[in-house]
């Protein structure tokens, strides 16, 4: 099935009152932001979409695909699932090697595993510091390694027309590269973020409060300008971080040399 859009039909907030936003449509090719304070219900919104909820979650939201209620099989069977989700759960609990896990996951999604293990690990190693090896046990991976592996796994094995991403900036990995890898061309992407750089990269964003969708904000031209400048500051911060990580010393010159706000 060709997925053109998803529609979220608003339900209720944590107090049981109707959400301000009654209906939200995200179309193919759009990167859509989800913002709001901790505990405001961002992850629940994403999880409603992942589960293709039909009024059966506490939020009572309904999710339509191309304007229709999706088939039960699509909700249940990963082989028919068209949604990839990168949640905030950063650690693996499975007691298996990286290779076993990836082969098993490829099988669950119904794709052939030829060469897929190497592909996922190579991509993951582009995002993180110390490389992951295929015979490592999943549970010994560091937070950053786990997260990189999850990102690469979502990009390759769960490759789907709808991509849901929860706070990628907290992962200690290269967030821009990760987002690029995940979003791809012609997908529906929803990103939960507290990071202004990522939030302003989206075309629109929904503001969450008390479990409900409060309002939808369109990114203005001025915000896009702000986004570019923030992005410069961000890459400057990143370059400082890399220096510290690699055992170099910073000097006042490192700050003076950067005229990031101009």
């Amino acid at each position: 099935m060709d997925i053109k859009e998803i529609k979220i039909i608003g339900g209720v907030n944590k107090c049981g009152e109707s959400e301000n936003v009654k209906e939200l449509i995200v179309k193919r090719g759009e990167i859509f932001g989800v913002v709001g304070p901790t505990g405001s219900g961002k992850s629940n919104l994403i999880s409603d979409i992942e589960q293709l909820s039909q009024g059966d979650t506490p939020s009572k939201r309904k999710i339509l695909i191309n304007g229709e209620i999706p088939e039960t099989e699509m909700r249940r069977n990963p082989r028919k699932r068209r949604i990839a989700q990168l949640s905030q759960n950063m650690n693996f609990l499975a007691d298996m090697t990286v290779e076993e896990f990836l082969i098993m996951h490829a099988k669950s999604r119904g794709i052939t595993s030829e060469g897929i293990v190497e592909k996922v690990i190579d991509l993951a190693n582009n995002l993180t510091g110390e490389p992951i090896k295929k015979d490592y046990n999943l549970t010994i991976l560091s937070g950053g390694q786990s997260r990189s592996l999850m990102v690469a796994d979502v990009a390759v094995i769960s490759d789907s027309p709808i991509v849901l991403i929860d706070e990628i900036e907290n992962a200690g990995i290269k967030k821009h590269e990760a987002l690029e890898l995940l979003s791809g061309y012609g997908k529906i992407v929803m990103v939960i973020t507290h990071d202004p750089v990522l939030a302003l990269m989206t075309t629109r964003r929904v503001v969450m409060k008390n479990g409900g969708m409060m309002e939808i904000i369109e990114t203005t031209d001025e915000e896009k300008e702000v986004s570019k400048k923030l992005s410069n500051i961000d890459s400057w911060m990143l370059s400082m971080r890399e220096k510290v990580r690699h055992g170099q010393k910073l000097s006042l010159n490192d700050i003076k040399a950067q005229k990031v706000l101009e």
């Binding site: 999880s47 979650t57 989700q85 759960n89 499975a94 298996m96 999850m150």
Partner: protein, 234 residues
């Protein structure tokens, strides 16, 4: 009357899942009753009691709770008939991973915890492999990839089951479990009803209270660690 038998590892969320499922059944006009079988202690009668449905507790004490549940199945059914209900839900304690308390014409629901890791479905035995429905809990704690791997392992062990991802806290997914109960067949002839899987082989001196560990004190059907099985006794 329909009979639903719920089994699963301790702490997997059997009671929480069934409470949400029963609420859905009540909303759909059904009349369920529940029996909880546990070993030493349970306060689940209070949790089930809040639903305002007939609730019965069975404590098996020093007996295997699944054996206890099986011997008492007729009493439970008689009790449920007197309560004038249309669905009897029996929740077992679920301890040794070896029993499958489902009978052939009941609906067997296995509740299993996704955070126990994808090797668990290989370890738990007939209560998973002979279930009609497998309800996987706590999936919100792990990544989507790990959830899908867990699901695949369940299907490897029981290819015919229907899998539901359920959340014992929010009740998500329990609506679908209640639908399965509604379409389940009636159980009419309890006298000729059979277990789907034999209960574990275990007739030995330990079963009747011997506490000494040395081999010479034991009689009955004994299996050595190398797999050799013999009967010692008269």
């Amino acid at each position: 009357m329909k009979m639903v038998i719920v089994a699963g590892t301790p702490g997997a969320g059997k009671t929480s899942v069934m409470i949400h499922t029963i609420k859905q059944l009540i909303n759909k006009g059904k009349k369920p009753a529940v029996v909880k079988v546990d070993c030493l202690y349970t306060d689940d009668d209070k949790r089930y009691g809040k639903l305002g449905i007939p609730t019965l507790i069975g404590l098996s004490k020093d007996m295997c709770p699944d054996h206890f549940a099986i011997y008492n199945i007729e009493e439970m059914a008689d009790w449920a008939k007197n309560q004038n209900v249309d669905t009897l839900i029996i929740e077992t304690a679920g301890l040794c991973h070896r029993c499958a308390p489902y009978t052939k014409n009941s609906l067997g629901i296995c509740v299993i915890d996704a955070t126990s890791g994808p090797n668990t479905p290989r370890k738990v035995g007939p209560f998973l492999t002979s279930a009609d429905i497998v309800a996987i809990t706590k999936g919100d704690i792990i990544s989507q990839a790990e959830r899908e791997v867990f699901r695949e392992r369940v299907l490897e062990m029981n290819p015919k089951c229907t899998i539901h991802d359920v959340n014992g806290l929010s009740g998500q997914g329990c609506g679908e479990v209640s639908e399965e109960i509604i379409v389940a067949k009636e159980l009419s002839d309890l006298e000729n009803e059979e277990l789907r899987h034999s209960a574990p082989l275990c007739v030995c001196t330990l079963c009747v209270g011997e506490t000494k560990v040395a081999k010479k004190h034991h009689r009955g059907v004994l299996r050595r660690i190398d797999g050799f099985t013999k009967y010692i006794g008269e």
